[in-house]
């Protein structure tokens, strides 16, 4: 039974990841999706997919830099949520936007790079989602890691797709692009090493500062119990 116990952090991550979906459903019932709801839900699911994809990429660097091990545990969930929103985004495009009009769908995807790049991003995510289980990790061994490096490709393509969807104010897509590139740099071996060294410096400083406070608290605690 203990196996299925979620930590508070995990619950928080799951709720946060489901929030965009709940928000869409809420707005649908509140009639708050504008006169063009299909465009709105397409944009919102796309945005959620990109944010979650970037968060997935941020997991390892966060652990390296801050030694926050709990994030490693939610990486798969974050990646799968990104896949869920990407899937919804695509399903809306096919089923609601174009209502399975195959001729128009093929035109839209292959005529211009904008939709094509989005489509490729989705294609990359499929094998990553399928092989995200422990069984596949074991089966693929070293190759698993190699395969999952593809997520950086997906991240960069997703940002490109997002940039092309914007008319002129490209601040947000560019910000996402910079973040993805920084996260990629953080994974380079040398950088990662120095980041990790940097973390030890910080954490030792932090412990230095925290220890007296902790001591103080541990002194206070017994008195609390006595109340």
């Amino acid at each position: 039974m203990k196996r299925f116990k979620f930590t508070k952090f995990q619950i928080l991550v799951h709720l946060g990841a489901l929030f965009p979906l709940i928000w869409i459903i809420w707005d649908y019932y509140m009639d708050n999706l504008t006169a063009n709801p299909i465009q709105v839900v397409t944009l919102r699911t796309g945005k959620a997919a990109i944010v979650l994809l970037v968060l997935t990429l941020a997991v390892t660097p966060i652990n390296t830099l801050f030694g926050f091990r709990q994030v490693i545990k939610v990486r798969r969930a974050l990646g799968l949520y990104a896949f869920l929103y990407a899937g919804l985004h695509f399903a809306i495009f096919i089923g609601l936007d174009y209502v399975f009009d195959l001729e128009l769908i093929i035109e839209a995807i292959f005529d211009k790079p904008f939709a094509l790049v989005g489509f490729l991003t989705g294609l990359i995510l499929i094998p990553l989602a399928i092989t995200s289980t422990k069984g596949w990790m074991k089966r693929l061994g070293k190759n698993w890691k190699r395969l999952h490096w593809l997520i950086y490709g997906a991240g960069l393509l997703a940002v490109l797709h997002y940039t092309w969807s914007v008319k002129s104010d490209i601040r947000q897509p560019v910000a996402f692009g910079v973040i993805v590139i920084l996260l990629l740099i953080a994974r380079i071996h040398v950088v990662r090493k120095s980041l990790s060294r940097f973390r030890w410096k910080i954490s030792s400083k932090v412990t230095e500062l925290i220890t007296p406070v902790r001591k103080l608290f541990s002194q206070i605690r017994p008195s609390r119990k006595s109340i």
């Binding site: 128009l104 035109e107 005529d111 939709a115």
Partner: protein
């Protein structure tokens, strides 16, 4: 294009009543559909079906506007859709928020300065204009470059009437339009991404075409700010952004004016911006569009369906180069 007499257009009280009736009716229908769905568990692929995510909302415009259709037989969009889904970057780029951000926009007093290469330059007062030129009903399709469209029952008069009155000289080749620049009332003007004020232009023969109108109202009422009050251009065979809003200045000029969008992204937005399913936007296909209120897509029509009226303006021109 077939013109529709005002007597054929549903008065506002009637359509509002009808709207409420249909809302109740479509709610009931929606409930039935939900029940039907749970039995069969098979979603319908029919775009008009209320079993889509659109639900009962889908039925509204179709049913409520039976008497208001464009010449192709498609119903006008609801007043609510037309006034709550707007591109008006002077206020905000959020289409849903334009209505609330613009609600206190002052449209009176308002003057429109018509000048440049003309014999009789003139400054018109808005009410003088409205009284002078009789309003006609024009039900036009509006195709946005983003890939959606609406049918809108405008009130207005041909632009030609004003131009005839000021008498363009023989040197006048183009018409240049300018939107009001008022940062106090228009928060979007702070955006550094565009060279304000909004500028648009037409070739003189395009401007003299009977389809090109100045609109001052829609659905029988004066225009609301989000729709470009009090005085805007409507050129239905071009992408929506050509139909410049809240005009304060019209100039007859001899050189092709550079529009705001031409300045912002010259390789994406040209001077002509005619609706053309064959000429894609550099980033996305223009071959189809979504009519607001419908699921699914319609094939985009050449010149937005006004080929008969305007195609001759561009005969012999390379439309790929003159996008």
């Amino acid at each position: 294009m077939e013109k529709i007499r005002s007597s054929e257009i549903t008065p506002e009280e009637l359509y509002i009543n009808r709207r409420q009736f249909i809302k109740a009716g479509s709610l009931a229908l929606g409930a039935i559909t939900v029940a039907a769905c749970s039995q069969t568990e098979k979603p319908s692929g029919n775009p008009k079906s209320s079993a889509t995510i659109e639900g009962s909302k889908n039925l509204e415009p179709t049913a409520e506007t039976i008497t208001k259709t464009d010449e192709l037989g498609d119903p006008a969009n609801s007043f609510e859709d037309i006034t709550n889904f707007n591109n008006y970057y002077e206020f905000t780029i959020d289409k849903q928020k334009v209505a609330s951000l613009s609600k206190n926009f002052q449209t009176r007093p308002w003057t429109v300065e018509v000048g440049g290469l003309v014999n009789k330059a003139k400054i018109y007062d808005l009410d003088e204009l409205i009284n002078k030129f009789t309003s006609e009903d024009r039900i036009y399709r509006m195709r946005c470059v983003e890939g959606w469209s609406m049918v809108i029952p405008w009130l207005g008069f041909p632009l030609k009437k004003i131009l005839d009155e000021v008498e363009p000289t023989s040197n006048a080749k183009y018409v240049r339009f300018e939107t009001i620049y008022d940062p106090d009332q228009m928060p979007g003007l702070k955006s550094p991404w565009y060279q304000w004020p909004y500028i648009e232009g037409l070739r003189l023969d395009e401007a003299m075409n009977d389809l090109a109108i100045i609109s001052t109202g829609l659905y029988g009422n004066e225009l609301l700010p989000q729709n470009g009050a009090p005085f805007r251009l409507v050129v239905p065979w071009k992408y929506g952004f050509k139909s410049i809003k809240s005009i304060v200045k019209i100039d007859l000029v001899d050189e092709m004016p550079k529009s705001l969008w031409m300045a912002a992204a010259p390789h994406e937005y040209g001077f002509y911006a005619n609706v053309n399913p064959e000429v894609d936007h550099p980033r996305w296909s223009q071959s189809s569009e979504r009519r607001i209120g419908e699921a699914g897509r319609r094939r985009t029509l050449m010149f937005n369906g006004y080929e008969e009226e305007v195609a001759h303006l561009y005969s012999g021109m390379n439309l790929n180069a003159n996008y």
